[in-house]
């Protein structure tokens, strides 16, 4: 799970823990959603690219530099989204984020005891060096990922068999519902067997993958250039000859580059500029539905927040409409569930503890602190977005007698305060990278089991923990949906987080760019992009 805390020019809160929870993300992700008519074997679930023109170079201004192009080591969003243009997974996420769709695999069978998953690889897939994909590559990749920082995603995997070149069998210790989603995880993107004999350091200088593009050059901190993979398996794709990813942390600079034509696509368009950009001729703004969920974490290790009535009172006291209007300029929706509507198994009728001053006062009266108390709100220095939210929350909570002092810290200090539970309230952001909520649920709400004590809130619920385990051990989708609905309801009532809003990925682009879509995971399919 990624909790990406905005990395604005300022950015970045970033603590990487087992579930890479506080993943850094610049204010916005980009995304492309749809694969358009790929290979003849697949039905195109998205818009067809009828008049797509081949050729051209795309310049893409992003908020931050990737940290790595080794998919098994990636934990920040820019690395993840870059890796997924170079390498691909067995399964991918659909455009709505709710399901998985076959990608390098075409289908799977599951054994009677639900412990052996047989994947059939897509015929005709070649790596960028021209050699065909086979089952040994998959086995090597998964075994390598098991040693990486995202190995938790494969925790149920026991053994990987390769009965023949086009078949992979994954054995799990017990039935494991999220397995297909796990196969869509970026850290399981397929690398060639044994890295073609190279060491990891050598290999990632000139990496080989099945993705639409090949790394050409990377000047760290400035730009990363990719060129077309001539052996790409989707007919006629990619359309672009090359892609240049520029690293431009400053929002205003990115904006000027887009307006001046030096950039074709801009990531993280500032919400305040969206109205002006929309009316600029030649520029299109796209707010793609994202998996991002914003909330305020409340530390239950502190006596005030151990009281459920206090937590509910805070949730009732926060005026989400004002936050969405002032911070997102109206481009967001208030959140009740800690699942975003773009996650699988989102439950729309989760209880809503929304702005209701009377209910807030009632909850405070029932708490151990009916007269209120003093507390703090910790955020990263330079984080303007959460700084504005903090001031609104401060004003809202003063109504119910809670006196909030806003404290800013440098990002690494803040991450330490959060992971060591030495904070009162702090903002958080979660995004989902795969087609299964199990990437996030254990870390967000299942206490010690998820590795980061319920997103550093120390929230513990025996029922939620039990349902989390049960949903992992269940393969049937309908049964899992019920369990996740139950989890969302319990969490909303226990209120470990004051849920704020669901925000989109704000992208702006030149009108000559076509086919740029971003799925809720944020990992765009650059092979579908073309220039007119």
């Amino acid at each position: 799970m990624t909790d990406r805390v905005n990395a604005y020019q300022s950015e970045v809160l970033n603590s990487v823990s087992r579930r890479s929870f506080l993943k850094t993300m610049a204010a916005g992700g980009a995304v492309v959603g749809g694969a358009t008519a790929f290979g003849s074997l697949l039905v195109d679930p998205f818009a067809g690219a009828s008049a797509a023109r081949r050729g051209g170079d795309l310049t893409f201004a992003r908020v931050a530099d990737p940290q790595t192009i080794d998919p098994s080591a990636a934990i920040d969003t820019e690395s993840i989204w870059t890796c997924l243009s170079l390498y691909e997974c067995l399964y991918n996420v659909t455009a709505d984020g709710h399901r998985t769709t076959p990608w390098l695999a075409v289908s799977y069978d599951i054994s009677q005891d639900q412990r052996a998953w047989t994947f059939h690889l897509r015929p005709g897939v070649k790596f960028s060096d021209g050699r065909p994909l086979d089952s040994t590559d998959v086995r090597f990749t998964l075994e390598r990922a098991l040693k990486g920082p995202n190995s938790y995603i494969l925790s149920a995997v026991n053994a990987i068999d390769t009965p023949n070149a086009s078949t992979v069998v994954i054995h799990t210790a017990h039935p494991w519902g999220p397995l297909l989603g796990d196969m869509s995880m970026y850290s399981n993107a397929i690398l060639p067997n044994n890295l073609r004999g190279a060491t990891a350091a050598q290999f990632f200088e000139h990496p080989i993958g099945t993705g639409p593009f090949i790394l050409e050059s990377w000047t760290k901190g400035q730009k990363l250039q990719m060129k077309r993979n001539p052996h790409y398996w989707q007919n006629g794709k990619p359309y672009l000859d090359s892609v240049t990813l520029l690293t431009v942390p400053d929002d205003n600079t990115r904006l000027l580059q887009l307006r001046g034509g030096q950039a074709d696509i801009m990531e993280g368009a500032p919400y305040s500029s969206i109205a002006a950009l929309k009316s600029t001729p030649g520029i299109d703004v796209n707010l793609f539905k994202s998996s991002a969920v914003s909330f305020i974490a409340m530390n239950e290790k502190k006596a005030h927040f151990a009281d459920v009535h206090v937590r509910r009172a805070i949730s009732y006291a926060i005026d989400r409409a004002t936050i969405i209007k002032d911070v997102l300029f109206g481009h967001g929706t208030p959140a009740a569930s800690f699942f975003s509507p773009a996650w699988p198994f989102y439950q729309a009728n989760t209880p809503k503890l929304w702005y209701d001053p009377a209910a807030a006062k009632h909850q405070m009266a029932m708490s151990k602190y009916p007269k209120g108390f003093k507390t703090t709100f910790a955020l990263a220095s330079g984080d303007n977005l959460n700084g504005t939210i903090a001031q609104i929350v401060q004003s809202n909570l003063s109504v119910i007698g809670i006196d909030v002092a806003i404290q800013s810290y440098d990002p690494s200090t803040l991450a330490t305060l959060q992971s060591s539970a030495h904070y009162d309230m702090s903002p958080g952001l979660m995004t989902l990278d795969i087609g299964d909520p199990d990437e996030n649920v254990p870390a967000a709400v299942a206490g010690a089991y998820g590795g980061i004590n319920s997103a550093y809130t120390s929230y513990n619920s025996a029922k939620v923990l039990q349902l989390t385990h049960q949903s992992e051990l269940t393969v049937a989708t309908a049964a899992r949906a019920k369990m996740y609905a139950r989890i969302q309801t319990i969490v909303a009532q226990d209120c470990p987080f004051a849920m704020l809003y669901y925000s989109p990925y704000p992208y702006a682009q030149q009108s000559k760019v076509h086919g740029f879509k971003v799925p809720p995971t944020g990992a765009y399919h650059l092979e579908d992009v073309w220039l007119s």
């Binding site: 300022s10 929002d251 205003n252 904006l255 500032p270 305040s272 500029s273 002006a276 005026d319 004002t322 209007k325 002032d326 911070v327 990263a380 220095s381 330079g382 984080d383 303007n384 700084g387 504005t388 903090a390 001031q391 609104i392 401060q394 004003s395 002092a405 806003i406 404290q407 800013s408 810290y409 440098d410 200090t413």
Partner: protein, 251 residues
């Protein structure tokens, strides 16, 4: 004039600098809001005035404290010499060895954000300049005959320092303190801009610039106006300092 405006802030404006008014966010300048409102609906003119209060108050008090402490240490070091001088001057050397901003930012990080930390960080790094100036002056002045005469008369050291030395060596430090205030205001504004300054919602020029930066393409006045205020007060205080220097020299 800015100081006057800052002191009179509650009389000049009828808005609160901190109360949010979300329905009035990002209004353009008008007769009701001379400089418009920020994203949370607060009047920018009001925040500018109250921000001046905050920045000037911290700068004046921090410089005053540095001035007093630094001068005291400088007098002791310069007058008595010996181990007192060695200890004081090694402390000065250690602090001067670090770039000023690096040291201030490091101290604020260590102490945690807040007004108290800013005071401590500025005073802890700023006193050394006064010590340095005063000690140097005292070393040359104490050999002059009137001081030797005072000693010969048997006056106690404290009386000699306060009655005879300080009036003769303080001019340099006063002139320096004028430019120091400008520099200290810049430091406070820089800390605010970096998000290490006075915690919100207290208005402060640096954090106003930082908050306004995101709207620079649509509402340029939010970030620009506090910047202009810093420039004006910087030039104003520098000229004032020059004036004082001239006046004192004439005498």
């Amino acid at each position: 004039m800015i100081i006057g405006l800052a002191l009179a802030a509650p009389l000049i404006t009828s808005y609160s600098p901190t109360v949010l008014n979300p329905s009035q966010g990002l209004l353009a300048p008008s007769l009701h809001h001379l400089l418009g409102t920020d994203e949370l609906g607060r009047d920018v003119w009001t925040r500018l005035l109250y921000g001046a209060r905050v920045d000037l108050e911290i700068a004046f008090l921090a410089v005053l404290a540095s001035f007093v402490f630094g001068t005291a240490v400088g007098c002791v070091a310069g007058f008595f010499g010996g181990w007192a001088d060695v200890v004081a001057m090694r402390a000065v050397d250690v602090i001067l060895a670090f770039p000023f901003f690096v040291l201030v930012i490091a101290l604020v990080f260590i102490l945690g954000p807040g007004t108290k930390s800013i005071y401590i960080a500025i005073i802890a790094t700023d006193w050394v300049s006064y010590t340095w100036i005063i000690r140097k002056e005292i070393l040359s002045t104490k050999r002059l005959e009137f001081i030797l005469a005072a000693s010969a008369l048997g006056y106690r050291p404290l009386r000699i320092i306060i009655r005879h030395l300080i009036p003769n060596v303080i001019t340099q430090a006063i002139v320096y303190s004028m430019s120091d205030i400008v520099f200290t205001i810049l430091t406070i504004v820089t800390l605010g801009f970096l998000g290490l300054g006075v915690p919100p919602p207290t208005p402060e020029w640096g954090s106003m610039m930082s908050d306004g930066q995101q709207f620079i393409t649509s509402h340029w006045q939010l970030a620009t106006v506090p910047g202009i205020a810093v420039v004006i007060i910087g030039i104003g205080l520098s000229l004032f300092g020059d004036g004082i220097a001239d006046r004192l020299r004439v005498e």
